[in-house]
Amino acid sequence: MKIVTQNACQLCAPLGASLVFKGIKNCVPLLHGSQGCATYIRRYLISHFREPIDIASSSFTEETAVFGGEKNLRQGLDNVIRQYEPDVVGIASTCLSETIGDNVPSILKEWLKDRSVESSIRVPELVQVSTPSYSGSHSTGFHQTVLALTSTFAGTFTEKEESCDSHDLNLFPGMISTEDIRNLKYWLGLYGIKGMILPDYSESLDGPAWYDYQKIPGGGCPVESIKVSSRAKLSLELSGTLDDDESSAFWLFRNKGVQAYSLPQPIGIDLSDLFFSRLSDLSGRDLPDILAAQRGRLLDAYADAHKYLYGRKAVVFGEKDHVLALSVFLEEIGIIPVLCATGEGKGLKSAMDTCLKKPEEVEVLDYSDFDEIEKRAAALSCDLAVGNSKGYKLSKSLGIPLIRTGFPVHDRIGAQRLSCLGYSGTQLLFDRIVNTVMEEQQNSSPVGYTYI
């Protein structure tokens, strides 16, 4: 591992936790640590989603760091509940509270005990996750939080919840755009599948204009659905890089006997076929006509554009899950993903070896940073960059175009609406890639062709 990280290609775990909690219905995230953690993460998320994102903090002081965070966490909970009236408070730890050894579960237990006596305050559901930023990345924090929600609530349903909220499919989409979450819902509808999407921040982080400030924006996965997830027929997890012990789908399989599959994010025809075939198996229905038509048009576009792409060399970077699926897709359309990099820990290489047709053409970097990625991309003569907007520096200094996808996109409007999943999302991403290449060719020619 490197001695120093230069221009990180990852963020810290509490950011992932906050994002997941924003995808739970009527939930407020509360970070147990310094005020700065919550504020920096808010700022970072707001710059991507361009939505108000309220994240509470237990606002540590020097005293807290010496005597422990119990008093602050209790006060934080009380104030969050008074201000926001949430149904759920999601508590994520930080490096500070973990290092001083706060026992969050026991603090919460005590608080609950006291609050059940005092009736003046409405007690919400609590869920807590351990997310010190010295361990893993934002993506780790994301998956850990989904797992915490699953393991806390699955199977704890009441009779009423079982009859009202049960569904057939648990869908764990991982970190995808709000537009793609909406697409997943639409597709489940086409198949007639009742499903839970955990988390679902498609409305809470991409909402309409407001008349009044929404203390907790609408939408989100209801806790009731998580409770009955143990009764579903199938769990699908869009990742392909998670170990079994990090996986909510496998947790439900091991503990509740729900059948589980983990697939890469469905980007490109191969991976989308795989995904939709699972939905077909579950529902007993063939690929719906609408999707079949989308697939046909996508394939048609592949033919129209194939010559512009063949043999191009791409550098791909971001979260493991996204990099894996992107590289499979790029290989499928004739672009060689010569350099695939993530700031996260191991897991990408073995997944790539399994999923790619020619893994020997690909250099995989894990625990990487943008300094290293830029150096290797230059050495490998990459001519296309695919990933989040933090790759702009690399793209500028190497003089290669950047196709923005994933998280974050801080330098463009509409990151929420960037879609890349399924045939329709792939179509949008594909067109963007091809047009970037065509624009580059057009601009670099002195002739000024108007037909290309």
Binding site: K2, I3, V4, T5, Q6, N7, A8, Q10, L11, C12, P14, G33, S34, Q35, G36, C37, T39, Y40, I41, R42, R43, Y44, I46, R50, E51, P52, I53, D54, A56, S57, S58, S59, F60, T61, E62, Q75, G76, N79, V80, R82, Q83, Y84, E85, C95, L96, T99, P132, S133, Y134, S135, G207, P208, A209, W210, Y211, D212, Y213, Q214, K215, G218
Partner: protein, 454 residues
Amino acid sequence: MSESTLLKEREKQIFTKGKDQHEIICDRKSLAGSVSQRACVFCGSRVVLYPVADALHLIHGPIGCAAYTWDIRGSLSSGPELHRLSFSTDLKERDVIYGGEKKLEGSLMTLIDRYNPKAAFIYATCIVGIIGDDVAGICKKVSQSKNIPVIPVHSEGFKGTKKDGYKAACDALFSLVGTGSISKILPLSINILGEFNLAGEAWIIRKYYEEMGINIVSIMTGDGRIDDIRRAHGAKLNVVQCSGSMMPLAKMMEEKYGIPFIRVSYFGFEDMCEALYDVARFFSDEPGVFEKAKVLTAREIERVYKVIKIMGEDLKGKKAAVYVGGAFKAFSLIKALRLVGMDVVLVGSQTGDKEDYKVLKEMCNPGTIIVDDSNPLELSRFVLEKKADLFIGGVKERPIAMKLGIGFCDHNHERKIALAGFEGMLNFVREIHSSVMSPVWKFFPRYNKKCGLL
């Protein structure tokens, strides 16, 4: 929105002029669970030191703090751009157990060899002290071995508020001041403190002073250079903007080197003129300085006021809300907004002190709400209650305004448009004009309940 959203513990940090009598409580730690807009001690240090462009800025701790502050400010440099890179020791679990000193030392040696900086700032983040790392010791060792200043910045996030971070940054700068040669410094010379060269603002201000015949020894920290900071004690006067952050340094320099300071602001005509006149008055023994300042201000105001006046016609009577980091900026904004006929209905700051709030109380019109260390629920409630047409703030205030259909102007450290000086005032009025006058707002639910989310 229900009354319950205002927390009892915060009542005294909110004040309506003409209605309330209490003294505004401020300078407090943020209340847990209140969703403060403030960041932490580290943030305070990081924003102040960030623009020093030929220094290495190494953040010692887990990855988050460095990742969230990579290229975070719009501070421009006329030369090196080392400040725009993000360096972290990226502490992992085993470093937390066994300590991060070795990693810190290794990181420093590697980075100094590669980038050859003039100095290095080492920011200690939350857990560094708790795991027992002797940051100062490592800094000393590396400094001796590499022969450049390696300065620890005591910026553990929880050890106070953003203001304490400013103080830690001032301490770091102060350790450099006095270590350079002042032999070639001319008599009419100043340091500009608290000007961060966002969108080139420091260059605008420098040009003005130079036109008056004043020499700039150092700007702390906009377009900052270590060698300039080292000889800052050779200046005759410290001109302090953003006094919330830089007063500790000005006071330390006054005490040790006998350099007096004045507080100024470069926003708006009124304060910009005063900032030039005050310096001219200081050098009143020198013939011609004041005259030059007068010529400059008259020329510049004539040049830009024509345009501002036209836009002012549209803005007259519109209402503005202001929520910024330091209160001193709020004073200038109130005056600047008045120049175009706008009324400030809400004003607040993250870090204002008692004196600041006294001034605000005096400046504001009756009915204006004044807030300290506010949060989204309060701010959104007050901007709606007061029917604001414009919100001036930073990234975290932006979506509050835009969701509700209120114009917005970014006056925070991420801005990419120069708002200081006379041309800055022109840009500022253009900014607010283009937001307030945009035709898009008419579709918003506050004007038209039929659409959007009611």
